[in-house]
Structures are given as C-alpha cells and as structure tokens.
C-alpha cells in the first residue's frame, strides 16, 4: 500500500503531462496517505473555532496531510438558510474563513466554497456571513443556483443510482466537508453526511425516495477527505432552520475525522442522541462507508 501511495505522489510530481495515468492515481491519494498521527477522530472543546481547529488539525498531523501545494480545494460548509450566524443555522463563518486560510498556507492553488441553499442563495450567502468571511480569507465563493453547474454522475447506491453533482466536487483535488451540527425535524440531526445534500441539484428526489438511504448512499460516490463538524453553537430544536436564538446552545466543540460515519456518530452523541437512532448512520455503517462504533476507533480528546 505504501508503494502505491509513493508511486501516486511521485507520479503526480514527476510527469504532469501524463494526465491519464496520474489522474487515476490522484483520485486514490488522499485516503491512502498515511497519517503521521494514529488518530481516527479528534474531538476538541472549550475554545474559539479557530483555536479548536488548529489544535484538532495538529493532532491529525497538520494541514499538509490534507492539502498539498498547488492543489485545488473545495470547502463545503452548510449554508442552507437565510439566518445570521448566532442562529446556528449555517456553519460558523469564522471557522470557514480559518480553514481557507490554513489551506492557502499549506499551498493550495485555489480554495472554492459553495452550497446549494434551501433559502434564496444570494440572501443566504450574505446573511450567513460566509460570503464575507470567504472574501476576507482569500477564498472563492462559487454559485450553485443553476443546474448547469452540476454534472450527472453514477452512484452505486442502494436507492441512489445517479445524481447531478456540483462540478467543484468533481474537479477539485481536495474535498473538505464543514457541516454544522444541529437538530433536524425528520433525520433527527444534521452532520457530515446530511451536509452532502447540498452538493447535488435535486434534493427532492432524495426526500421522495427513502431519505436516509439516499444520504447513506451518496458517500459511496465520494467521501470527503476531511470532515470538520462545527459544534461551536448548536441548534437543539426546531432544526434545521430554527426559530430563534433560544434554540441555540453554546457548546464550543468540534469534531474532525477522515471517517464520515465516525464523525457523525460522535456528533450525534454531542447533541444527545445515540448513533443507532439515526437511520442513515446505521445504514452507512452497514455498507462499510465508515465505522459508527466509536470504541473501535482511536480518538484524541482535547480540552482547551
């Protein structure tokens, strides 16, 4: 495995012209790069989003484990609703801004950010504070309001066979998933896997055809290279949009992991649920997308 990995890295570095060969290998690289730390999951609490992220990513072996010089990075926060950051309906803008900064420091050629919001996209990008944060950090805010930005792909899911996926997910070298943890009226909670509903064009199909199964199916097509779950402010009821700030609890926490199922499993406990209650976590676990059993994972817990 190590050979394969080295070969892949060497291949990309050596011959840029040999696109066809190296591209296949590039696709494999992120999950095969051996982590210098042995942790499957890092949980942090007690700090500001920026501080928590730095601690967590250091425990994972540093940003350079995920982002190499010259790579194109896509960061996918949750920018679903036309609500201000205090309402905790969208990912913390400070965190998004900080991740972009760290990606650029690691040498990323370009960091793009997008979501396909439920509310009007122009208003949501603005009100969430994320558009401004991205601009400040030097990232590129990309629209997802038209079908032409999405390409149809095959997905080997149980229910989900095809989906129109945003081109940034298809064209980027590194995919960082940055959901916010919150309550959800029907899927009980929103985490990493649920956040990926924002990279497809037609969400109604998912809602119509066994929502949990579709959520669990999508990562079969593409798993993020890193999941950063923002639990700084957490919406405990009336999710996913929330009614007011009264629904929000300051938790100053964060979970990061390469394993999308493990990340969600830990996050569900943070919001007071058992992962076995969340159908899509169980489904994803059963189809070997990741591990929901946290006792089998090496977890680093950091208190600030």
């Amino acid at each position: 495995m190590r050979k394969l990995c080295l070969g892949a890295v060497g291949g990309t570095l050596m011959v840029k012209g040999m696109r066809a060969q190296s591209k296949d290998l590039e696709l494999l690289t992120p999950s095969f790069i051996p982590s210098s730390s042995g942790y499957d999951l890092v949980a942090v609490k007690g700090g500001e989003p920026e501080v928590m992220f730095d601690k967590a990513i250091a425990a994972m072996g540093g940003m350079t484990q995920f982002v190499k010089a010259g790579q194109k990075v896509v960061v996918k926060p949750n920018i679903g609703w036309d609500v201000a950051p205090e309402r905790a309906g969208n990912t913390n803008p400070q965190l998004v801004s900080h991740i972009i900064k760290r990606c650029l420091e690691a040498g990323a050629a370009e960091v793009c950010i997008f979501d396909n919001p439920c509310d009007n996209w122009v208003k949501t990008y603005k009100t969430s504070g994320i558009e401004y944060a991205v601009k400040l950090a030097g990232g590129k805010m990309f629209p997802a309001n038209e079908e032409r930005f999405f390409k149809n792909v095959n997905i080997q899911g149980k229910v989900l066979k095809t989906a129109a996926v945003h081109e940034l997910i298809l064209n980027s070298d590194v995919f960082i998933n940055v959901p916010i943890l919150k309550n959800h009226g029907s899927t009980l909670f929103t985490g990493s896997m649920k956040n990926l509903m924002g990279v497809v064009w037609d969400r109604r199909f998912w809602h119509r055809n066994n929502l949990h199964q579709c959520i669990a199916d999508f990562p079969k097509f593409k798993k993020p290279d890193l999941n950063v779950i923002d639990a700084y402010r957490v919406m405990f009821r009336n999710g996913p949009k929330g009614l007011s700030q009264a629904d929000v609890k300051l938790m100053k926490s964060m979970i990061i992991s390469r394993d999308i199922v493990a990340a969600d499993s830990a996050a569900s406990r943070l919001i007071g649920l058992d992962p076995s209650e969340i159908t899509h976590i169980v489904m994803a676990n059963n189809s070997k997308i990741g591990t929901m059993d946290l006792s089998k994972l090496s977890i680093q817990r950091i208190n600030i």
């Binding site: 609490k45 122009v122 007011s244 929000v248 609890k249 977890i299």
Partner: protein
C-alpha cells in the same frame, strides 16, 4: 445656438435621464436601490402616483399633481420628457427607415375624439368599479414595465451570465449569475404584440398611441387646453412650407389652417427647431402674435375634465370608506380560486383595484416567487403578479415588493410586521405525503417552514409526519415548494382573499447554556 435648439437638447437630456433611471430600476436584480430611490425615480409616473394618492394622499404621492401643474404651464411635457413609453417611441422613431432624404416624414391627421374620450372614460369607470384591468392594457408606464420585464430582462440576464462565465474563466468571481425570468406565454405574447403595434404606429404616423389611445395623454391633453404657455403659429410669418408638420410626431400641426392642435402636442418642441421662418413660437397663450385661432375655450371638454376631477375625489372618498370596513367582510369558504397576493397587498380587492401590472415587483423579487398570472384567476387577474409556489417561496425576511411598488398596491412593510402577515394558510394532505405513502422519512416541508407552523410529530416507529398550526402560518409557501410529493403536493397554501394577522411563533425558553464537562463518547 438658438434657444429652440437648447430647449431641444435639454428635452433630450431629461428624457434620456428619466428613461435610463426607470429602466435601471427595473433591472435592479441585486437590490442596490432603496425604497427612497424607487419613490424618487417613479415619483412623476402619472398613473402609479394617482393610484397611490387616492389611497394615501401626501406629498410623496403627489407626483401626478406636479405633472398636472407642469401641463398647466407648458402643455404635455410629461409625454416627451417623463413617460418611458413616450421616450421609447421617440427612440423607435430614430429607427424608422427613411425613403428619400427627408427625415421623419409625418403628416397632420384628424383626431378621433370619440375613441380617445371613450377610452379615458372607460378607464375611469373601471377604476371606480374597483378594477385596474383596463389600466393593465393601456397605462403607458405599466405597458413599458411589462415589455421591459418580458423582453428586456432575458437580454440583461443573458449578458450578465455571459459576463459571469467569462470572468469566472479568468478567476474573477465578482459577478453573480442571475436566474432567467420564467417564460409566461400570455404576458410574452402581449408584450411582443404590443411592441409590434407600437413600432408599426410609430413608423406610420408617429405618436398615434399617445395622441389617440393613451388615457394619460388624453387627460393631460384636456388639461393642456388651459396651459399658460403654448405653441402657436404666427400667421403673418408662416409660409405654410409644411416642414414643421412633417417633423411633428403627434401629427397636430395643420399647415393649411396654420393651427396647432395643442391638445395632442407632446411638447417635443421639434417644430420650433425646424421652422426656418421662426413662425412657431412657444409663448404665453394671451400674448399677441399675428392672428391665431388656437385658443378656443371648449365647454364640452371642460365638462369632461370637471367630471374626471369629481370622479377622482369620489374615488378617494370611496376608498377611505372601504378601508374602514376592511376585515369585517366574511371570507369566502372555498380557498382554491384565489391567487396568493404579495404581503402588503391587504386583500385581493385592494390589489385588483390598485395594481396596474407594471411587473416591477416581479423583476425585483429576489426569489422569483412573484409571477404574472395568466388566466388562472380569470380575466380580472390577467397579468397580475401572484405568488407561484411551484417556482419558489416567499423569503421570510424579504420586503422587497412593497419597497418597489409605485402604485401602493403592495404596501411597504417593515420586516417584523411582514413576518406576521398571513397571505394564506397551509393545508396538509396526509394521503399525498411521502411519510404516509412510502413510510420513509422526509420532512422537507417542515424544514423550510420559517415559523414552524408546519412541524413534525411522531408517527410510526422512527418516523415523524408533518402537522400544521394554521394560526402561526404566514402562507409563505415554503412547504408547498419543498414538498417532494408527485404529481400533487402533500401540502399547499390556500390564499387569504383578505390578509390576516398571524399569531407570533411560540416563544420557547432559552436552552440552558453549558459547555459539557466531558465528551459524551
């Protein structure tokens, strides 16, 4: 430079300025302009101002009075200086293919008084009867608006999106791609048809629409009979060369009789410039020039004008009485036949009485939930904006339509008040719901609900199903838009023909703030 030249240039500058501002207001897709910008830009538009004045008389709605005063001074300056449709026609004039070398060959023609006075009276009667249906087809500002939305927007959006694509290739993300306005057959056919007719008329005889059909033009024409300054022909100086008549877009100069039908004159003042004998003078109507048979006090016309003024006053009174009655009328039981009208439009009755379908709100609506109606709500609702929840839903915090509306059909609301205006009520059909039919999780409707009027309650094992609390529903249509059920929605909003006040969403106590001591895993 001759004074007449300067006047002409001044007129063109003012016309281009007002035309550009109005057009820009229509293309303000990124909501850069404020309520005050819209009020200022559209202040002088006659019909919107008149309709708004009837509802709430004040200085800021008194633009039409200023127009009447201007007309009393100088004649129908509105038609060539302020009216976007008039200025558009002047622009179209320039496109007229010229046979031989003589430019703008127009000629004097007899006016059809029966037709234009009938249109004017019918328009007033229809407003009195509580419908703007005629205005929607004949008010120049609204016609211009409809054409701008139907024919202009796709072009502007296309250019913007092309520019976005090019800039994006260069790594510049400063522009935002805009959604194309959705195609609406009846409004499109009407707009393109009307533009065709307009071009034909302009090429044929110039401003025929303005002098023969336009109710605003006819009304101002009647007022201009009493103008202090008028264009007049000095019989002694006039050589009857006919040059002025050939350049008169309104066809109102009769060179044989050496008279100007000032009632039809659109005050472009081109004749002043073209007359080489300086026989046309813009002057005080009583000052002595040659011999002129221009000014005949016409008793019949005075009577019509008097009638209009009385009618306007009567209308104001009627509306004041109606407002006192609002909310006491019984609501009709069957909610289906009514369109959902924008928050701030008070009631279907108020909306039908005041909206001239200029489509400014449709252009300004950030979510594009506002769409022109075809025949869904009968002829009476033709072209009226309504909320089409299959296109999108009304943003909870947005009050844009009320900010831009120039006629007062959509009242300006502040964001907090708007959140309590109930424009309709959600109705849930369990039998259509995915949770019921498929027994899988969904909740798309509840997710989108801004007040949690639509909330999820326990259903079978591990499942939740929507329930509606209509008291706190605002009728924004988010649930209807989001519902994935096919072919019919599992939840839909039935319009309130009279808007109600919704109860505020229940205030729940703040969740206890405490950072957990230990990780729960």
């Amino acid at each position: 430079m001759k004074v007449s030249h300067r006047l002409s240039i001044f007129r063109i500058v003012v016309a281009i300025l007002s035309f550009t501002l109005i057009t820009l207001a229509f293309f303000d897709y990124v909501s850069k302009l404020s309520f005050h910008h819209f009020r200022t830009i559209l202040f002088l538009q006659f019909v919107p101002s008149l309709l708004q004045f009837i509802q709430s008389p004040s200085i800021i709605t008194a633009g039409f009075i200023l127009v009447i005063l201007l007309t009393l001074l100088f004649g129908r300056v509105y038609c060539s200086w302020i009216c976007p449709l008039g200025i558009l026609q002047d622009g179209l004039c320039k496109l007229k293919p010229h046979k031989r070398k003589r430019r703008n060959r127009y000629q004097y023609y007899q006016t059809n008084k029966w037709l234009k006075y009938s249109i004017l009276i019918l328009t007033f009667v229809s407003i009195l009867l509580g419908s703007t249906i005629l205005l929607r087809f004949i008010d120049p500002y609204s016609l211009y608006g409809k054409m701008t939305y139907q024919l202009g927007s796709p072009v502007v959006v296309g250019v913007n999106n092309l520019a976005f694509d090019i800039l994006q290739q260069m790594g510049n993300y400063s522009l935002k791609p805009l959604p194309y306005p959705s195609f609406n057959l009846s409004a499109f056919v009407f707009s393109i048809g009307f533009l065709g007719i307009l071009i034909f008329l302009v090429f044929w005889r110039g401003r025929v629409y303005c002098t023969e059909w336009c109710p605003v033009g006819t009304l101002l024409g009647l007022v201009s009979k009493f103008s202090i300054f008028k264009l007049r022909v000095s019989e002694s100086d006039c050589t009857a060369c006919g040059l002025c008549a050939r350049n008169c877009k309104a066809g109102c100069i009769d060179t044989k009789l050496k008279t100007i039908d000032f009632e039809r004159c659109v005050a472009c003042f081109n004749c002043l410039r073209t007359c080489s004998a300086h026989a046309i003078i813009f002057t005080h109507h009583q000052s002595k020039i040659g011999e002129s048979n221009l000014y005949h006090p016409d008793i019949q016309r005075r009577r019509i004008l008097g009638m209009m003024i009385t009618a306007t006053a009567g209308l104001g009174l009627k509306s004041a009485m109606a407002q006192a009655n609002i909310g006491t009328k019984a609501m009709l039981p069957n909610p289906k036949p009514y369109p959902v009208t924008p928050p701030g439009s008070l009631s279907l009755e108020h909306f039908n009485k005041t909206c001239t379908a200029c489509h400014l709100c449709i252009n300004a609506c950030p979510t594009q939930v506002l769409q022109p109606a075809m025949l869904q709500f009968g002829l009476i609702g033709l072209f009226q904006p309504y909320l089409d929840f299959h296109k999108n839903f009304c943003n909870y915090d947005c009050v844009r339509c009320g900010e831009v509306c120039p006629t007062g059909a959509i009242k300006r609301l502040n964001s907090d008040d708007k959140k309590l205006v109930q424009i309709g009520q959600a109705h849930f059909f369990r039998e259509n719901c995915v949770v019921y039919t498929e027994e899988t999780a969904c909740g798309a409707c509840s997710e989108h609900c801004p007040t949690k009027a639509v909330h999820m309650v326990s259903y079978k094992a591990g499942l939740t199903i929507p329930e509606v609390n209509q008291n706190i529903c605002v009728g924004c249509g988010a649930c209807e838009y989001a519902s994935p059920a096919l072919p019919n929605k599992a939840i839909y909003v039935a319009a309130n023909p009279i808007h109600f006040q919704a109860l505020a969403p229940e205030k729940s106590t703040k969740i206890q703030e405490e950072i957990p001591e230990e990780f729960p895993f």
